[in-house]
């Protein structure tokens, strides 16, 4: 048998049922690895040793009485953006360094109900605002493939934990690429579902019309297993859709012969590194060999997605983050002299630089006299971007291209220029604005660093995405490659 930390969740579930090992054994194995190696990668903010072992024991008891389930006794990690009752939830911020939620997020409750074993909470860019994990109050996460490079962000801790084999799988959230880009940079599989597929209740809000939670795993099969558990209607999230959840694992083995894959010319222009382009083209050729038909398409407004996003996301963030005022929970400044001082000093001391910058941009874009020029304009552009995709999906089933313009970059490489960092998400942001589902898959390497292939599906077509991804992974082994030697 492979070492326990090399097993996928599908394999772990099978071996737990066969009593090859107990949930306590595999959970203990991961907790030991985290204790030994987390200082190298900094991918966990909190580790819940006792909670994990108790959940593992409960799962072992259930398995002994004949219980079965795809996540029963399976260890995993949650991004530290999901509220976990009794377990500190920081969102990567000083503002919530002391926050112990009194309730579980719906995603957390669903996975708990299935007997999944949470190992701990993973590091992230502060309030999910970043593409490199450099904005976390708890320090940067290191990319397990090269410790001098970033893991991507904002779900960088989740991506690094899975890549470093410190968790078999993790949850993430994606507002502008925060699942897909770190998945690409760390060589793992990540899925952002259709907006409304997964409940946002208890997921600390960044930009509510864009935020969506999803799985970060080694394989498409594992992503399907996790998505089965995470998805579904929730009355506590007013934007969660009431559409039946199919079994995402049921269709993984279907042939993709005849599948039409659109290749947007805008995703292969001069902004994309030539070696990256060649690597992605090689991956597309694999899909062609499986019977898919590549079709040239256009997404003419895609260049406008970054500008529109950097109005809409900060505007929503400035509103969402107004709740952090030092009164009901979280950080409070010392010795406030009056109420105004309490609010202003709490927020000025509690938020990091990038978060403050985005609140300012958002407040400015929403302010009297600028609303039409910025916010309204961005929402109009957003519709144009969606229409591009709607037109494309009249001709093709799936759209494919690179996930990021380059592999993982060095710490500090983007310097002090926020715009340079924002452009890291040029291929991922349009999908959030349109609300579509999309995945990133390990699809090759460049300078020994992982390269991600992005697949974008039509609304609620996660089954087709996962099927395509799984078929790709049956003929490639990029998803099995590991930066870990021990």
């Amino acid at each position: 048998m492979k070492p326990l930390h090399e097993l996928t969740i599908a394999e772990i579930q099978l071996l737990l049922q066969q009593k090859q090992f107990s949930s306590r054994e595999i959970t203990g194995h991961f907790l030991d690895r985290i204790a030994q190696q987390n200082s190298i990668y900094n991918c966990y903010i909190s580790v819940d040793n006792d909670g994990a072992l108790n959940a593992a024991d409960a799962a072992d008891k259930a398995i002994a009485t004949g219980a079965n389930g795809p996540l029963l006794g399976v260890p995993f990690a949650h991004k530290d953006i999901f509220c976990t009752q009794g377990v500190k939830t920081t969102c990567g911020s000083k503002m919530l360094d002391n926050f112990i939620p009194p309730y579980d997020a719906t995603v957390v409750a669903k996975m708990k109900a299935e007997g999944a074993v949470m190992l701990g909470k993973t590091n992230m860019d502060e309030f999910a605002m970043g593409s490199s994990n450099e904005t976390s109050y708890f320090g940067s996460v290191k990319n397990p493939w090269d410790l001098e490079t970033v893991p991507g962000g904002s779900s960088g801790g989740s991506a690094a934990a899975v890549a470093a084999r410190l968790a078999p799988a993790a949850t993430g959230t994606d507002t502008g690429g925060s699942i897909r880009q770190p998945a690409a940079l760390c060589g793992i599989t990540g899925l952002k579902p259709t907006y409304g597929r997964v409940s946002r209740y208890g997921m600390i809000a960044f930009a509510s019309s864009l935020d969506q939670a999803g799985p970060m795993t080694r394989t498409a099969e594992d992503a399907a297993i996790l998505l089965n558990s995470m998805s579904g209607f929730d009355a506590k999230d007013s934007t969660c859709t009431d559409i039946a959840v199919p079994d995402y694992t049921a269709t993984l083995n279907q042939s993709i012969k005849g599948l039409k894959i659109g290749i947007p010319k805008e995703y292969f222009d001069e902004r994309l590194d030539a070696t990256m382009a060649a690597t992605v083209q090689t991956a597309l050729a694999e899909l062609e060999k499986l019977g898919a038909i590549l079709v040239d398409i256009e997404l003419p407004n895609s260049a406008l997605s970054v500008p529109a996003y950097y109005v809409i996301a900060p505007a929503e963030a400035s509103s969402n983050l107004s709740r952090f005022d030092g009164v009901r929970y979280g950080y409070r400044c010392d010795n406030p002299k009056d109420l105004e001082d309490l609010y202003t000093r709490t927020r000025t001391e509690g938020f990091g630089e990038e978060v403050k910058r985005r609140i300012l941009v958002g407040a400015y874009a929403l302010s009297a006299g600028y609303y039409d020029a910025y916010y309204r304009k961005a929402q109009q552009v957003r519709r144009l971007i969606k229409q591009d995709f709607v037109s494309a999906f009249e001709k093709v089933d799936i759209i494919a291209g690179p996930t990021s313009p380059s592999p993982a970059f060095k710490f500090g490489e983007k310097g002090d220029d926020p715009v340079a960092m924002y452009l890291e998400d040029i291929y991922t942001i349009a999908v959030n604005l349109a609300g579509l589902p999309a995945m990133s898959l390990p699809a090759g390497t460049m300078n020994n660093m992982p390269v991600g292939l992005q697949l974008v599906g039509n609304y609620f077509a996660e089954q087709q995405l996962l099927n395509t991804a799984h078929q790709f992974q049956t003929v490639t082994d990029w998803h099995h490659q590991s930066p870990v030697t021990e």
Binding site: Y195, T239, V306, Y343, K356, L360, Y364, R376, K386, D417
Partner: protein, 99 residues
């Protein structure tokens, strides 16, 4: 569009953040670069385009207008207030507003 350090300080005040002096000059420079990026949108004609707030054009889901009481309201309040920086008799404490 450019933004001045004075506008930064005013906007920060509205968002209950304190950014002034040299910091406002620095922040104005960075936010100016973001606004320059954002201004690329202005080149597009959107005169006949309906703004889109929700990607599925979903509207607010409504439920029956009836109060939902938690099973034990006092316990909920106590639980929620345990994580508050300062409370007294079930109330949140803030600095005195009126003398």
């Amino acid at each position: 569009m450019t933004i001045t350090p004075e506008q930064i300080a005013i906007t920060a005040g509205l968002a209950k953040l304190k950014i002034d002096g040299d910091e406002a000059i620095e922040v104005a420079k960075r936010i100016g670069a973001i606004l320059e990026l954002v201004d690329q949108m202005q080149a597009v004609d959107t005169s006949n385009v309906e703004p889109m707030a929700n990607s599925l054009d979903a509207v607010q889901r409504l439920r029956v207008d009836a109060a939902i009481q938690p099973e034990n309201p006092i316990d909920v309040r106590d639980t929620l207030q345990q994580i508050a920086p300062a409370t007294e008799d079930g109330l949140y404490l803030v600095p005195k507003v009126i003398d």
